[in-house]
Amino acid sequence: MREIELTSIELKDVSKSFGSVFALRSTSLSVRKGEFLTLLGPSGSGKSTLLNLISGGYPASSGRILLNGKDITNAPPRQRGIGMVFQNYALMPHMTAFDNIAYPLRVRGYSKDDIRTKVTDALARVGLTGFENRKPKQLSGGQQQRVGIARCIVYSPAIIMMDEPLGALDKNLREQMQDEIKILHREIGTTFIYVTHDQEEALNMSDRICLMNNGGIVQLGTPDELYFQPISRFAAQFIGESNLLAGSVDDAGDLRIATGYSLKVPDHRGLVRGQRYEIMLRPERIHVARDGQGEVTPATATARGTVVGVSFIGSMTTLAVELPDGTLLKVKSTSLPAQNRYKVGESIGLRWDPEDLVVLRSED
């Protein structure tokens, strides 16, 4: 009982195929009321398919979709009570901002006064007071998307879905609007389902991220979980940067990678001796120092290597370090004015906390 009350939308074994091609393999997903859930994945991963199945863009091939406990699997879009924000805004070009926002209210037969109050309120919420008589063409991209959002919140749908809503905007505006959408979500408390292929956007905005690939869910969890405990190589590589190391567990319980390098792995990771594993290490979790300087000394270093590349990208500097066995490690650290102390060809020590090694699930 409590479960149902807390669940906004639930997908039970839903799949979609076009002919013989699966756009979405059998998937179950439950979204909590008021949650901000992001569907993250590369194009063709099935995130848009999932969105379309929920909104009624096309029918599911199998499975059931429940909205607030009600089966909407075969309901026409207009009876679902869902709001949607589109990447290309999808504003009616022949209507003013006011008329665009009033559209769902007029369809529902609201009185003129109600419409005026609600539209004015929605415009104020997205910071567009005074723009009611502009046509979409007379608005900037960001303003158009604000109208798109206002058009959605004005009729209080049960869920608001956003399909890459900031995809067409430039970087600064995108970041600003991310915050605006987050605040809006907090204020109105509606369930948001947000689609993006931008991992930073997903990490910044979501309560939970649903990472998708090849028409299925790879991992579902909080941004923290996805970043620090990716379960597969895909998850590790899609979100953030990563070093991947493969090897088998030796008799001492250490992971032996390539030619003779052994890595200590915490016991509670539950490695089985003799098995092959893939391990991920985030570049910024590796500490670096020149011999005899700073915190890393030859004695404590977990590995030694030669710098083969230095790239300074502003706040961070990335080093490419080659270990004696040829393995390349990416090492990321905060840039310092004296950054030029690392030079290609230089020998340096690396150290990391064994707790930072994440064992990945094998994919094949």
């Binding site: 879009p77 207009r78 679902r80 999808a90 009616m92 022949h94 058009r151 009729y155």
Partner: protein, 274 residues
Amino acid sequence: MTSGKSHIIKDWRKRCLQILGTGLAFGVYLFLLAPSLIVTPVSFGSKYELKFPPASYSLDLYRIFFSTEAWTQPLLLSLRVALSTTVIATFIAVPAAYGLVRFNFLGKKFLLALIMSPLVIPSVVFALGIYLYFSTLRLGGTTLGLIVAHTMFVIPYALVIISAGVQKLDPNLEFGAMLMGAGRLRMLMTVVLPQLYPSIAAGALFAFLISFDEVVISWFLAGPNTTTLSVKMFSAIQWEISPVIAAVSTILTAVSLVVCLINVALQKGGEQSS
């Protein structure tokens, strides 16, 4: 020095080619325009002889045209047929264009080929078929027969123009409207139609002009009381080179020019609004 010289020669050669190309192009423009340009001055000439340039100018030919029932009757018939055809064809072509662009269904290609067939089948063949068919239905020589045949004949043109308009519409708008709660009919009236008006207007204009100018089908279907202006003109050019034809031609050219300009204006308007 030498390299500079060859540069000049090269430029000179390029310039020559350009001038040659422009000259040839304007020759062709003249060739294309000459017929449309010639008839106008002739139409303001004398009623006794066909001469270019006319020796004296008058409105005699227009006066004769508008006071001769043998010309005004066909003119009125052509207007009636073209207007009816335009209205019916538009009402058929608009939903058809939307249906053909937005939906996939069994037999779509066949249906499309059938609707577009008057564009490919020689008019004479189409006209003969309709003539034989309408003779058995006793529709030969009737205004209704003309309107039905013209409607079929102009629909492909209207359909091409209106479909191009539908293709420019964003399907997300239509889906979004339905998601916001609009029924299909309401969505079509408030989202699709308002955006399509320029294309519909262009398609209707096109339909009107094609029906008004159509000769071959009308020639086969014409009866004693159903001679359209173009049929009357066709036989007039064949049998009597009357100067009045110059006046008719000028009127037809003026109609074409107006349609052409409205179409250009609509296209510009369409570009601005999209």
